[in-house]
């Protein structure tokens, strides 16, 4: 049975990448959005770009994973194609995991492109690469699970985008992307602790400054926790739809 599930996860993710994510318009849009952000900040505050890199990378992985995934799952549900997957000998959690892995892969591809440009242009040194990789993978998992949760909780594609934005935009302002957490009021600092992007930005900031795994350990654990909880919620909602 686990072999059926593993096979299902792999081929569902591969199919989503081929059918949706890796289409030229999606790749170009996935790249365009973060580069437009970088350009805007580079023009506005050229001296502070290094400080902004963790936040921009965090936003790239957040939008890269959730934007398309929420649409893909809702769209497939609407046209009945998701039901086609549910007829296959793959458990529902494995089916959903395949979708999540597809979204993760796309988010990571766009983030790595932004990272490459940041490293080349800003000449970042002393990066803890294994920590950076782990932080990006766990962040992609948490945000992709958020995309899955949003898409199974609604019925229409526009509802998925609205609900995704309900989570995404507060995170952009509350999680230390533009404004350091330390300079925010205590209530907002507390609220930020319930949002996964906070831990992404902290972990990436640590990795980019060469911090050890131990320093970023709590952030990595928190990201892993968000990924598991959001995925479990999404799987639960999808399962209850069978009743």
């Amino acid at each position: 049975m686990w072999r059926d599930d593993l096979r299902g996860i792999f081929y569902i993710a591969l199919k989503d990448l081929r059918a949706y994510y890796l289409k030229p318009p999606n790749i170009s849009w996935g790249m365009l959005f973060p580069f437009a952000l970088i350009l805007a900040f580079a023009l506005r505050q050229p001296g502070e770009m290094r400080d902004l890199v963790p936040g921009l990378l965090g936003m790239t992985v957040l939008f890269g994973t959730t934007s398309m995934e929420a649409i893909v799952i809702t769209f497939e549900r609407r046209i009945g194609a998701l039901e086609r997957l549910m007829l296959a000998p793959v458990s529902l959690p494995a089916l959903l995991l395949g979708k999540v892995v597809g979204g993760m892969a796309f988010g990571l591809v766009t983030t790595v492109a932004v990272l490459a440009v940041a490293v080349a242009v800003l000449g970042l040194w002393g990066i803890n690469w294994p920590l950076l990789a782990l932080a990006l993978v766990l962040s992609a998992a948490a945000f992709s699970a958020l995309g899955a949760f949003v898409s199974v909780a609604v019925r229409e594609v526009f509802e998925a985008q609205t609900l995704a934005n309900f989570f995404r935009f507060p995170m952009v302002f509350l999680c230390g992307v533009f404004v350091p957490l330390a300079s925010m009021p205590p209530a907002l600092r507390l609220l930020a602790r319930f949002l996964p992007l906070t831990y992404t930005v902290e972990a990436l900031r640590g990795a980019l400054s060469g911090a050890t795994f131990w320093i970023a350990g709590a952030d990595l654990l928190a990201l892993g926790g968000f990924a598991v909880i959001l995925f479990a919620l999404a799987a639960r909602i999808l399962t209850t739809r069978l009743d």
């Binding site: 081929y11 009945g80 194609a81 039901e83 997957l85 296959a88 000998p89 458990s91």
Partner: protein
């Protein structure tokens, strides 16, 4: 509980050697489904399928007939694991629906009412993807996909995205996708709805061919004539309840003793008036009187035996038009 027997899912080639022809592919006992009914207020439930029980012998074409909303699709959705029964049990190919759904899914093929493959993938890639999901060995996926594309006359369109195929081709490819893993049992939900005459005929030929190959076919259709031509057994479901279950001949025999006359009237050839009565003479008198009243010449007269449509009307109390009008007819 169903006593799930030992018909366990075997590759199609070995079905004949391990399972007797009269073994049961599907056993259903008291299957029931309630849905929440938002329009009826909180706590209210809509009874979609009401304690139905039936068996489908292996290798047969089993027709599941009823008007729209009768519970046909809900029954298929329960038997294929898309929705959970509220009550009752079922065994599919010897596997318990409640506990062995993955095994069941491996051994069955499903053609849903809507053609729901992937718009962005080509015809061939859709079939290969299905082979991947069902664990068809890598070296066989391409071969099976190509064979199905040729069998369904889609070879020329193998590289065309699903979205750009005609409605008939989409339907044919959806059927092909359900056969990639060579299932022992195929569920076909309204397979010919919306198809042109040639495509529908081709699909009916395929169903006969599947039957010859030993595959069990569970067919829902609202075309009574289609069911009459294809099915070994027919179940009639109305408002979630089974009202009859028999062979086509058995159902017809229930309305025998009534005679029907069909009169073709002019002035344009082809329009027919049908009358049913206790005897041929009465039916003929009624038909001729109607033609005379309409002032139309009688071009030909023939007596016809009871059809499945007659049996349907007699056993369900519904008119046969209910089936066609609700689905748009053809």
């Amino acid at each position: 509980m169903c006593a799930c027997g030992a018909i366990r899912g075997q590759p199609r080639e070995t079905v004949g050697s391990t399972s007797p022809q009269d073994a049961e592919a599907i056993q259903v006992l008291d299957l029931t489904k309630y849905y929440d009914d938002p329009s009826a207020g909180s706590g209210q439930a809509l009874l979609a399928v009401d304690h139905i029980s039936f068996t489908v012998p292996q290798g047969q074409v089993f027709g599941f007939l009823g008007p729209n909303g009768a519970g046909k699709t809900t029954t298929i959705r329960m038997l294929t694991g898309l929705t959970r029964p509220t009550e009752g049990s079922a065994c599919i190919l010897g596997y318990d629906l409640a506990t062995e759904i993955t095994r069941i899914k491996k051994a069955i093929g499903v053609v849903p009412e809507t053609s729901n493959l992937y718009d962005e993938l080509s015809a061939r890639d859709n079939l290969v993807f299905m082979g991947q999901l069902y664990g068809v060995p890598r070296q066989e996926r391409g071969e099976r996909a190509d064979a199905l594309l040729q069998r369904f006359r889609l070879w020329e369109k193998r590289n065309t995205p699903f979205a750009k195929l005609s409605k008939g081709m989409k339907r044919a490819l959806t059927v092909a996708a359900a056969l990639v893993h060579q299932p022992q049992l195929v569920f076909l939900d309204e397979p010919t709805t919306g198809l042109d005459i040639l495509s529908a005929r081709s699909l009916r030929a395929l169903i006969r061919q599947l039957r010859e190959e030993g595959v069990t076919v569970f067919l829902t259709t609202h075309y009574l004539e289609e069911a009459e031509r294809l099915c070994d057994q027919v179940a009639l479901i109305v408002k979630g309840r089974l009202v009859a279950l028999d062979t086509v001949e058995g159902l017809k025999a229930r309305v025998r003793g009534r005679a029907a006359v069909e009169v073709t009237v002019g002035p344009r050839a082809g329009e027919r008036l049908s009358f049913t009565a206790e005897d041929v003479a009465t039916a003929l008198r009624l038909a001729l009187a109607e033609a005379k009243q309409q002032g139309r010449p009688v071009l030909s007269v023939r007596t016809v035996g009871p059809t499945l449509e007659d049996a349907f009307i007699e056993l369900t109390g519904l008119s046969a038009e209910v089936m066609l009008v609700e689905k748009g007819g053809r």
